[in-house]
Amino acid sequence: MCARNTTNLTNYFSGAKQSQQLSEAEQEIQQLRAEIEELRDKNSGELERQLEELRTQLQSQIGILSIPIEQIEPNIEQPRQTFLTESLESMSRSLASDGQLQPVILIQRENHLLIFDGERRWRSAKALGWQTLEAVIIPEPTGLHRKALLTSLHREDLNPLDKAEAIARELSTIIGLELQDIPRILSTVIRRLNSQKRITSLVDLITADAKKQEQELESLDLSDSERAILSLLLDLQLNPASIDANIFPMLSLAEDLKLAIRAGLKGVHALALQKLSAKNLGLSEQKAKSIREETTHKVIVEKLSVVATRKLVAEVIASESKLAVTKNTKKKAVSQASNRLQQLSLELLKQANPAELTELQEVLRHKLIEIEKVLKQN
């Protein structure tokens, strides 16, 4: 009985209990909402502080800051991870002699200043014992790694033609040599040093200090202009052998190829296309130019590789020389006919009968008219 009554009571109150639970749950929700509101209110101060910090950061971004080197950290996500000692040494030399030319680019990540661009400068400056580096701070780009990769891959270096012209101009201005003489002088000295097997010691000088460079150049038995050119190239941390082999050849490119380089054609491709010269093609300068332009267009449009470009150039040269052979054959027919006519001596003509002679006369008269026509057209 008792148990049954208790059960009855439980049944009576089940609805009330549900109502109560619902009400409590709703109250809890309301309380949580209130807490969220409270937290929001509290956090608004924190948010304000963060905004202020951001504002300061933004303001500082307008100018170049002097940042203590110790505060700067390399970005482990950056694609370039290899820093050759020579490369760092030459940068150190540059920093020591000319100072920091460009600010490094840093990104602010929480409390860290990470290098977005300029790790080589940072390492070199550190090695020199510098305390600060000039830097600009940018907000962290989204997808940092990808951006850093793109920065590395698509960094627009000077194209080799611009580079060649700039270097030649610099050498000409400083040393006082004629612009067109410079590549020849460099080429001569490089060839000589190569044959003397002393080119390696020259290349080693790129990272050496000025005094060592001077001493070494002294021992190479150079003319004044040769020495001046090599000294200046080394001072610019350029490899004279590489300039001779890769950069200065750009200066002697045909004008149409120079234009193509300025429009985006790669230096190596231009050098390959340069083979399509009047001499190699056995054609006039004008015809060679039009073939070269046509081929260059094909290389650009079809985005041919260096290998494919070289192959194409070889094919064009081959087909042109075949045409030349055919032309030569035709040329021969005329001269052969001419030779044969010369062989018709007066004695032979006297021995011939009048009908034969009249026929020859008719043929010759006819041919003469054609020759005159052709000559007139040319």
Partner: protein
């Protein structure tokens, strides 16, 4: 802190008026000022307090009129015995009030508005509600700080009280009562110790309420003297001062006294 106690049940004869009257007298004996507000069209308080039937304007219905001037029609009762209890009488006119409430823009909040605009100074205001869960008890719910639920130890009454709880939770939310009135507790009424169902119900009830963290006050015993006392318009304390049943209200009264004396929230104004 002023306690505004709504005495509500969802069944007739559960002892609402008996509880209201005896709590009022007990509190008055302890020097607390009590206002009894009769929200019941039956006007039982008029009977239980030995008052004359009022003019309709002299009832709570007059207070709930829009043209109420702020002068509460409060009638002192048991004047020979205490100065601390007044009654705002009810009556049939309240049925009309209940009908009008439905259309009134502030319907459920009308009593609360009156108490805000024309506050009663009493320590305890007791709302004696009608037996149904209509607009009048709803108004009491919106105006009270606490509710107390008298219940007979019988299935019908207990089931009604359980439904009352559902009503309470629903309407507290629906009326957006803030703070929500607190359930002071259940008061088992007309307990007859000789009846086994009463004993069993009384034994089972606290457990059910405990689940819901609702207090069960000591039972008020069943006695014919309550009926006799009400017939004379007196509380048992006056009608039969030596009757032990009058002590059955003690604990509930004490609890109320604690609430009055130790306010839960101390609001100090500058």
């Amino acid at each position: 802190m002023q306690i505004r106690l709504a005495v509500i049940s969802n069944a007739g004869g559960s002892g609402k008026t008996t509880l209201s009257v005896h709590l009022a007298y007990d509190l008055a004996k302890r020097k607390y000022n009590v206002a009894l507000l009769d929200l019941d069209p039956q006007g039982s308080l008029t009977l239980f307090c030995g008052l004359n039937p009022p003019e309709p304007e002299q009832t709570l219905a007059g207070v709930l009129k829009d043209k109420f001037d702020g002068v509460w029609p409060l009638t002192p009762c048991w004047r020979q015995y205490t100065n601390n209890v007044v009654v705002c009488q009810g009556g049939m006119v309240l049925t009309q009030t209940a009908d009008e409430l439905v259309l009134h823009k502030r319907g459920a909040y009308l009593l609360a508005d009156c108490l805000t605009d024309y506050p009663l100074v009493h320590d305890v205001v007791i709302f004696d509600c009608p037996a149904t869960l209509g607009p009048l008890p709803l108004m009491a719910l919106a105006a009270c700080t606490h509710i107390i639920i008298p219940v007979q130890l019988e299935p019908k009454s207990i089931q009604g009280a359980a439904h009352l709880l559902e009503w309470y939770y629903y309407h507290c939310k629906y009326l957006r009562l803030n703070p929500t009135p607190e359930i002071l507790g259940f008061v088992p009424n007309q307990y007859d110790v000789r009846r086994s169902t009463h004993r069993q119900m009384l034994a089972g009830l606290p457990e059910q309420l405990q689940h819901m963290k609702i207090r069960a006050f000591p039972a008020i015993r069943d006695s014919a003297e309550f009926v006799n006392a009400s017939g004379q318009g007196l509380p048992l304390h006056i009608y039969r001062p030596s009757h032990p049943a009058k002590d059955d209200f003690k604990e509930t009264t004490s609890h109320l006294v604690t609430l009055i004396g130790k306010p839960k929230t101390t609001k100090k104004t500058k």
